[in-house]
Symmetry: C2
Subunit: 404 residues, 2 copies
Amino acid sequence: MTDTARGSGVVDTYGTVLDLIRSHGTVSRTELVGRSGLTSPSITRIVRQMLEDGLVTEVGTGDFTGGKRRTLLQLNASARRAVGVLIDEVDVTVVLTDLHGQVLARRVARGAGNRIPERVVPKVVAEVESLVQGEGLDRQAILGVGVATNGLQDTREHGLRADLHATEWQHFPLARVLGEALGCPVVTENDATSAAIGEYWTQRLPTAHTFAVVYMTSGFGLGLVNRGEVYRGASSNVGEIGHVTVDPAGPECVCGRRGCLHAVGGNVAVVRQAYDLGLETELGLKGTPRSAPKDFHKISKAAADGHPEAEGVIQRAADALASVLVSISNVLDLDQIVFAGPGFGPSVQRYADTAAERLRSYAYVRAVHTTLVTISTLGVDAAALGAASLVLHERLTTNRPGSR
Amino acid sequence: MTDTARGSGVVDTYGTVLDLIRSHGTVSRTELVGRSGLTSPSITRIVRQMLEDGLVTEVGTGDFTGGKRRTLLQLNASARRAVGVLIDEVDVTVVLTDLHGQVLARRVARGAGNRIPERVVPKVVAEVESLVQGEGLDRQAILGVGVATNGLQDTREHGLRADLHATEWQHFPLARVLGEALGCPVVTENDATSAAIGEYWTQRLPTAHTFAVVYMTSGFGLGLVNRGEVYRGASSNVGEIGHVTVDPAGPECVCGRRGCLHAVGGNVAVVRQAYDLGLETELGLKGTPRSAPKDFHKISKAAADGHPEAEGVIQRAADALASVLVSISNVLDLDQIVFAGPGFGPSVQRYADTAAERLRSYAYVRAVHTTLVTISTLGVDAAALGAASLVLHERLTTNRPGSR
């Protein structure tokens, strides 16, 4: 595993076959020939290499099809381990995973808040080292570390441009600094994209599926996987649905426009609306910029518990997000939308139901196919898991930018 | 060339190499090895097949690099011909193209209007036959016909679900009926997606480019090519930017929501605004639903000629589209947006300038990279050309849905 990205136009036969084995669970060489479009000798050669690499194992035989019984292949889950890290304002989540994306161990530490990288990065290094050592592993057992963040990605510098709130994160070469400290390869990725990769990888979604993960932490993001290909656009800065206009007459947004989803239904906006209703004491809100995620969580919980005014506030936010998701679905033509991330809190079902109902009524494609709406079962781990799978799974890294 | 679509997870080595040769103009086998990720024997084998197929030719030698001079390869433009057809309400455009997407001949006929398929399809057949015979070719010289339409695509039936205005187009198996009449393979595609493919194919855009074509006929569409891969989503019904919300307090839209781009800045909306200003007599507007594209064109021309009130109306429509394009760019992270299609009329530069200015000010990625805004040089041919290239270019068809 290296961090050398390759442009498109590159044929990654090994990665394609690995992904087919992943998505099928168990599969024969004959099926791989049929599904990959590769020749039988090519499949034989690639599978032999995978067996040598220990990535796949042979697991007995499939149905009798007239000739000899076919040997089936599956991923050798314990063949590789990687670490995934999510750095956001509220939490730093570190997971150790195997090749199936199974979480073998997890640590959660204090988030970046508005602290500078020099204070946050050593903590991340210590968390990764504690996790690895706690499992009785040494660093050599780890293929690498994937890091998901919510900042504007700078894939050329493998760092961030902004958004983790201290301006010192601008141009901070996160991948290089972490890599030097940990002595292993480090790749970085947008948190929503990471969550989509985590969902795709661990939920065995079919390769022909087009789906998006709507991800909420302190802000919104959308990760997109189109028929087995992670959509990264020009520079991995995709899915900024927080800056899709909901209402041009709405409040000013940090981005300079008016009425973006972030300004209308983001956590700060929701907290402000709760204050406008005088709910701050009853719900125990703090009302500072840094407390917004925790304040939002309290409002989301109150709404889930049936507090009528909290329900109203959360419903308006869910309506705003649903409106954006109908618009975005009309552009992206999605099979499925998955709600994920730590941000939605206990009202996540209300968000999902609202979006599902709007899509049933208004999605352009509704006469052709449904748009399934689900809630991720990965909990807060989706982004960290996806970041780890970036390290585990070459194929998902072949269309990474960085060396364009 | 067949119409058998394959799901993703399929490795199309031949198509990948063909696309690399296309995008480079001339290229050596050594460069193809470096850029494709394939082995030297594989490249040798694929190129030998392409030479046998007549798709590429050897064109002398490149720079001296220490060893022997390298033979360069390029597409053999005249090796294949295909027909591309755009069927929309206003016009039917038929083009004959070679492997470079050069238009060898063109015919334009009356559009579908609100006529039923049984009246339109025979005319299309006659136009295609006239075009082919007029060039002294027989049908066998044509690989196939690609058809771009603005309807809701039904890729399973290779037909349409709606939108060409007569309801008889619902479930009409356009590809099958045309194929039987013409005796050659027919593929269908969304018009905006076709225009994006046409742009990609004929303008030699780099394979690592992520760009969208904003396409306007009687409605809006957006075609997306991400790093050499056509984005088709779940069912080829992508890019419906006409049904992205601009203003939730805006007028009702045909889709059931309020204030979609179509309802705020589509041609019917623009014509209505011109009527509200009393411009109908001065500009010679007819004001019927069917006259909307032509009425819009007159308003667009008046604006381009400096008519102040027409400028105001068109500017508001351009503002609405620009707002949507900023939102969409924030989701898709685009290198470039190309304005295309017959719909914008003489004010297309105003639309492009407005979008460019908004993107410079507000695009989320503006600190990382610019979003280039250009106007297609393909004129009204973009969609028909793209549809033809679907037939010419296997690779661009490998991720077509239909046999998912």
